[in-house]
């Protein structure tokens, strides 16, 4: 059993979709608990890759391909997860705020969130307060991630938080902010729950919020 889970983890690391899907099926056939397949196979593989990334041992494309593979595998076992009442690690909504079209940083954060086992709804770029609120209501996420790359769109992160407070949703979600010009002080000032400097630490912080 451990062997098969290891194989799955390695398959994720290598981004080998076909092999992973086969191995997951084999594991299910072998009556391995689906929760274990998810945590000790799929997500473990992703975590190991993420750790390598943090140590600068692999490049982003590799992580992205692994993340894609992970998403496909999770998709495949989704019905069984649902049936057994196993929930994903958490749910997150992410977007770049209004007036800002930068998305590479945001995409990397998304990638790491997926890798950490989150279900992530990506609203894209140039996202208004209203759209964020709509997405909160619709998806009920544990975590909301706001990205801003311009000194003139940073204040928009505050606007989003204020709007969420006004909509009485503030206590339902942890809000994380980030992007090149953002700082911890700024995050504190605008009442965000967390700021981190890069994508890997963003996911680590997010995991703490849901565990």
């Amino acid at each position: 059993m451990q062997e098969l889970l290891n194989k799955i983890a390695i398959g994720i690391e290598k981004g080998n979709k076909k092999a992973v899907l086969e191995d997951v099926q084999a594991a299910l056939d072998a009556n391995i608990k689906v929760e274990s397949i998810m945590n000790d196979g799929l997500i473990k593989g992703m975590e190991e890759l993420g750790a390598k990334w943090k140590r600068n041992e692999v490049f982003v494309p590799e992580v992205l391909i692994a993340a894609r593979t992970l998403t496909a595998a999770l998709e495949a076992i989704k019905p069984i997860l649902a049936q057994q009442g196993v929930k994903p690690k958490g749910k997150a909504v992410i977007g770049t705020v209004k007036g800002d079209l930068h998305d590479i940083g945001k995409n990397l954060v998304k990638m790491m969130m997926v890798g950490a086992g989150f279900e992530v709804v990506d609203l894209g770029v140039d996202v208004s307060e209203a759209k964020f609120i709509e997405a909160l209501e619709e998806n009920q996420p544990d975590i909301l991630l706001l990205s801003a790359l311009l000194t003139t769109t940073m204040p928009q992160q505050k606007a989003v938080i204020d709007a969420i407070t006004a909509a009485q949703l503030r206590d339902k979600v942890k809000i994380m902010v980030g992007g090149a010009p953002v700082t911890q002080e700024f995050a504190d000032e605008i009442g965000a729950d967390a700021y981190t400097q890069d994508a890997a630490s963003a996911a680590e912080r997010a995991v703490k919020f849901v565990s």
Partner: protein, 459 residues
């Protein structure tokens, strides 16, 4: 193509900073590439809201930035400089705002010209808002119109040089960078990018001619600098970013085919190739733009530059003064040093150029491809191609070849895990079909980038 560029214009001995074959001269006498290297100062707002009610504050920020910087320039006897107003999105979406900013900044510059004989020119760079999700077409519609309006009225408000950091092809290229997909990258730069540059720079040049301003040129910032920033953090291989830089040459060259005359924009490090091929002056940025982004090309970027820029700095208060003033000072001293060599004679210039070059080129493949000798060599290779598409592929292959050789000769540091990428990239490029239409079709069909809509390019 409008103008055709088919040969390299310099030999290594004449390829130096401060001097270009076709200098650009403004009416007030400011000359770029005529012998001196001059500062190009860039600046941006600090963390603040930009809207109707803050606009007076925004204007006051710009006014005080340029005023203090000009004051310092006079104190340091700066012989002339260029200021870039790189508009923020808000000031592009509302052209009146962008135009007002231009006017206010230019007025202060005129004042210093009259009172203190400080010659200067203003480069106006709107945001390429055609990237907006609501933009329906690259070459017409509301977004296109706004950009053109800013150019035209900004010119009347005092802008001297027209530039943009255009984004045609970036819709596929962002993904290309993240996945290090060189085929997609060539599609973005060598096909879509070139198509767009042709239309865009045809129009900008027209406006420049009509308004008596200078069609200055573009930058592949959204492509090659994005790659550079990611490579710098170790997210993607440096050799990939180096190859992208060289691919970008063909795309950025299109502005000149359509009538631009320089100075090429600071953040387009491919400018050194543009200079080699067109003889127009270029702006570059290096160590003194660390305020805007760290880079592996701090010194070498200056080797053949005609303007020396800090890319951008927020109007924050440092201990020595406001940050833009501080950067004016730093640029001024960098330029002073280089111009002192020029006064000393050609051999001093060559030595300084080579020191700038050699100090960086070993440490990073992205620096290596900016070596003046490498630039001249690769430029010749690129020009062997008969059209943009072929030239872009040749650029990639030649860059890979040169990097491989340099690595083998221990002339450049390439980390072990990056070495295999050279072969991988080469194989990918070699697998690209010869016919651009076949390739385009293939790329459209296999497209995975949600941002790319062929019909925006009439495809």
């Amino acid at each position: 193509m409008g103008k055709e560029f088919n040969k390299v214009l310099y030999d290594l001995d004449s390829f130096v900073y401060g001097k270009s074959l076709y200098p650009v001269k403004l009416k007030n006498g400011l000359e770029i590439g005529g012998g001196l290297i001059l500062p190009e100062l860039n600046f941006t707002l600090p963390n603040m809201l930009f809207n109707e009610s803050t606009f007076p504050k925004v204007i006051e920020q710009y006014r005080s930035i340029i005023d203090e910087a000009c004051k310092r320039a006079v104190e340091l006897s700066v012989p002339g400089f260029v200021a870039e107003v790189e508009l923020l999105p808000d000031a592009t979406y509302r052209p009146e705002w962008g135009i007002e900013i231009t006017k206010v900044v230019r007025e202060v510059m005129y004042e210093y010209e009259q009172k203190h004989q400080l010659k200067s020119g203003l480069r106006l760079t709107p945001v390429d808002i055609r990237e907006d999700l609501n933009s329906e077409h690259m070459w017409h519609g509301e977004f296109w119109d706004k950009i053109m309006r800013i150019f035209e009225e900004g010119a009347k408000a005092g802008a001297d040089f027209l530039s943009i950091e255009s984004i045609g092809g970036k819709d596929v290229h962002d993904e290309a960078i993240m996945y290090c997909n060189i085929k997609q990258s060539i599609f973005g730069l060598g096909v879509l990018g070139c198509m767009d540059m042709k239309r865009l720079w045809g129009s900008i040049t027209e406006i420049a001619e009509k308004t008596g301003t200078v069609s200055a040129g573009d930058t592949a910032c959204g492509f090659a600098n994005t790659a550079m920033v990611l490579a710098d953090r170790g997210y993607i291989p440096k050799v990939f970013a180096a190859v992208i830089r060289v691919l970008a040459v063909v795309r950025s060259l299109v502005a000149y085919e359509e009538g631009a005359v320089g100075p090429h924009k600071d953040c387009g490090y491919e400018g050194v190739y543009i200079k080699a091929i067109t003889g127009t002056p270029i702006s570059m940025e290096g160590k003194t733009s660390a305020c805007a982004h760290l880079s592996p090309v701090g010194n070498i970027a200056a080797a053949v530059a005609d303007l020396w820029s800090n890319e951008s700095v927020q109007n924050l208060k440092l201990l020595g003064g406001m940050a833009p003033t501080v950067y004016m000072e730093q640029l001024a001293y960098d330029c002073r040093l280089m111009n002192t060599a020029t006064k000393k004679g050609h051999s001093a210039v060559l030595l300084l150029r080579d020191l700038l070059t050699d100090s960086d080129s070993y440490y990073d493949p992205q620096a290596y491809v900016l070596r003046p000798d490498v630039v001249l060599k690769l430029s010749a290779e690129i020009l062997k191609g008969k059209d943009h598409f072929e030239r872009t592929k040749l650029a990639g292959l030649a860059a890979i070849r040169v990097l491989r050789e340099a690595y083998e000769n221990k002339e450049v540091l390439i980390s072990e895990r990056e070495v295999p990428w050279l072969d991988m990239l080469q194989n990918e490029i070699e697998s690209i079909p010869a016919d651009v239409n076949v390739f385009t079709q293939e790329m459209i069909e296999g497209n995975t980038s949600a941002k790319f809509e062929p019909k925006k390019y009439d495809l």
